[in-house]
Amino acid sequence: MRDFWQWMFSPSRRGPMLIAPALIMLFVMNIFPLMWSFGLSFFHYKASSIRPPTFAGLYYYEKVLTDPVVWERMQTTALIVAMSVLLQLVIGFALAMMFEKKFPLRREILMLVLTPMMLSFVAVGVFFKLFYEPTFGLLSQAYSYFSGEPLTLLATQWGAVWGIVIADAWMWSPFVMLLVLAGLVSVPDYLYEAAEVDRASKWKRFTTVTFPYVRGLLLLALLFRTIETFKIFDVVYLITNGGPGTSTETIAVYVYRVAFQFFKTSQSSALSYILLFIVIVLTNLYLYFVKKRGEEG
């Protein structure tokens, strides 16, 4: 027995031994379920039915890829992702600039801006829906105070998309801010000092020193938030429920319906795999940029 332990803990096996628990856990909780659903995607199977699965081949992949509804949902998702992430970058950057100074109560004031990130989706979804509500909503009341007309923001596709984007961007801009702030506070002093010697204008200093320095981080923020926003579900579900019509129905909401309301287990698995592919491509892009930035420095 003692030999066994010695064998196990010998220096040559130390790496695998340390990593094993994590890999086992990830395998059981993530990779194995993924393979399972990969298998299901080749069978006719409904989780709600007692009928045993039968082989279907690539039927569901063909079905999903040729389904115009899926492409419509993808476009909607892309639109929301593009708008929301862009807004997050702009707001996040602006907020970071604000905190890139030393001033009294900085820690406390920073907490105010960080709080939205800590709220639950139910909180954000339900209350933003209230803000947009034409009769009781804060935003609508402010609008009608000036225009005299009630604001029915969620009545049109663009209005509804904006409604979602504002809520999502509000919640996650602090995340971008943290990232950018990390970059801003690390710009070496000598660069600014050099700029000061050159008597560069504030704007010039920003475009030649500050921005290039945090550009890499912005790219990371862009990719990271893109991947996260791609999964957008709760906020959409609560604010518009995909409406008006299907104007704001994102891919995550659609997968949820197919998997948990229609119980088309095979179809949702096939769809999930296509999504997984997209996510892997995005992740690789993300890592590629990280690496490139690293090498450039």
Binding site: I109, L119, F121, V122, L138
Partner: protein, 297 residues
């Protein structure tokens, strides 16, 4: 030195002093940003009529009824008894499940990151990439097979099931982030300790861990924020006894009466306190976590 390296060199640039004037400016902007949260907190102290008043009211007589209603309700049988809502238990579940899940992820993740950092395997990067990919997946993709798996293992509705799931959910993030901290420590110090006859356990626990306290704290904060508000897994995989607050919160958004604004706001407010407190205490370490550790390379 790369740009990104400098970000993690823990040296903040000497920030410009901005004084109270900037405090005022940043305070006002931040308050505007914080306003929706403030509105929710105010709603927690409002009666229903005040919560929905048109035009909205900013000054009102505060009531604590909503906070009482979080924990007690009046009996439906008309006897006038107060009956517990079980919300105290749900708060306990949330705290227990989130801490246990995060704790487990930290232990396993720290060990693995130590392995990845100190004893790189063949194909180390591939392993790390696979680990990261699991985090980038929309949870909706794995929920179906996890569900089927839990049903076979009899884990549905148990604490263990959810804790394992949350641990796996936080693992990739913990590994990547802790690895970036380990990479920063010099292995030479560890080696010299080994020369002096220190055991492997001694090196790990007595040398590395104390230096990584800050890193562990930052990792924990981010994991807690992400776990704290998780809804989908919690809804589908917990039962009455193990239900968490985000799921139970949904009770207030549709029963006999749409949204119980005051009650929902009170739950949100109470639920914000722990995560706000943790974030405030560990705020200084936060910046490190935001890119999930991928920056350092």
């Amino acid at each position: 030195m790369s740009v990104l390296m400098s970000l993690f060199s823990r040296k903040e640039r000497r920030l410009r002093e901005a004084g109270w004037g900037w405090t005022l400016f940043a305070g006002i902007i931040s308050l505007i940003y914080f306003f929706p949260v403030l509105w929710i907190i105010m709603t927690a102290f409002k009666t229903r009529a005040d919560a929905l008043a048109t035009p909205p009211v900013f000054f009102f007589t505060p009531t604590l009824d909503n906070f009482v209603a979080v924990f007690y309700r009046v009996a439906q049988t008309g006897s006038g008894e107060a009956i517990g809502t079980g919300m105290g238990g749900f708060f306990f579940n949330s705290i227990f499940v989130a801490s246990a899940g995060v704790f487990l992820a930290l232990i396993i993740g720290t060990l693995a990151s130590y392995g990845f950092s100190r004893y790189p395997l063949k194909g180390n990067d591939t392993y790390l990439f696979v680990v990261l990919t699991t985090r980038m997946l929309p949870p909706i993709i794995v929920i179906i097979p996890i569900f089927l798996m839990f049903r076979m293992a009899g884990l549905s509705g148990s604490y263990i099931g959810v804790i394992l799931l949350y641990a796996a959910f936080n693992l990739p993030f913990s590994i990547w982030m802790m690895k970036s901290f380990f990479d920063e420590l010099s292995p030479d110090v560890e080696d010299s300790a080994r020369m002096d006859g220190s055991s492997e356990f001694g090196v790990f626990f007595k040398m590395c861990i104390p230096q990584l306290k800050a890193g562990l704290a930052a990792t924990a904060v981010f994991a807690v924020i992400l776990t704290w508000n998780e809804f989908l897994f919690a809804l589908l995989l917990t039962s009455t006894d193990t239900r968490t607050v985000p799921v139970a919160m949904a009770r207030t958004i549709g029963g006999e009466i749409g949204v119980e604004w005051g009650l929902l706001a009170a739950i949100i407010t109470l639920f914000l306190i722990p995560v706000f407190g943790v974030t405030y205490l560990l705020q200084n370490h936060l910046l490190r976590g935001v890119t999930f550790g991928t920056i350092k390379k």
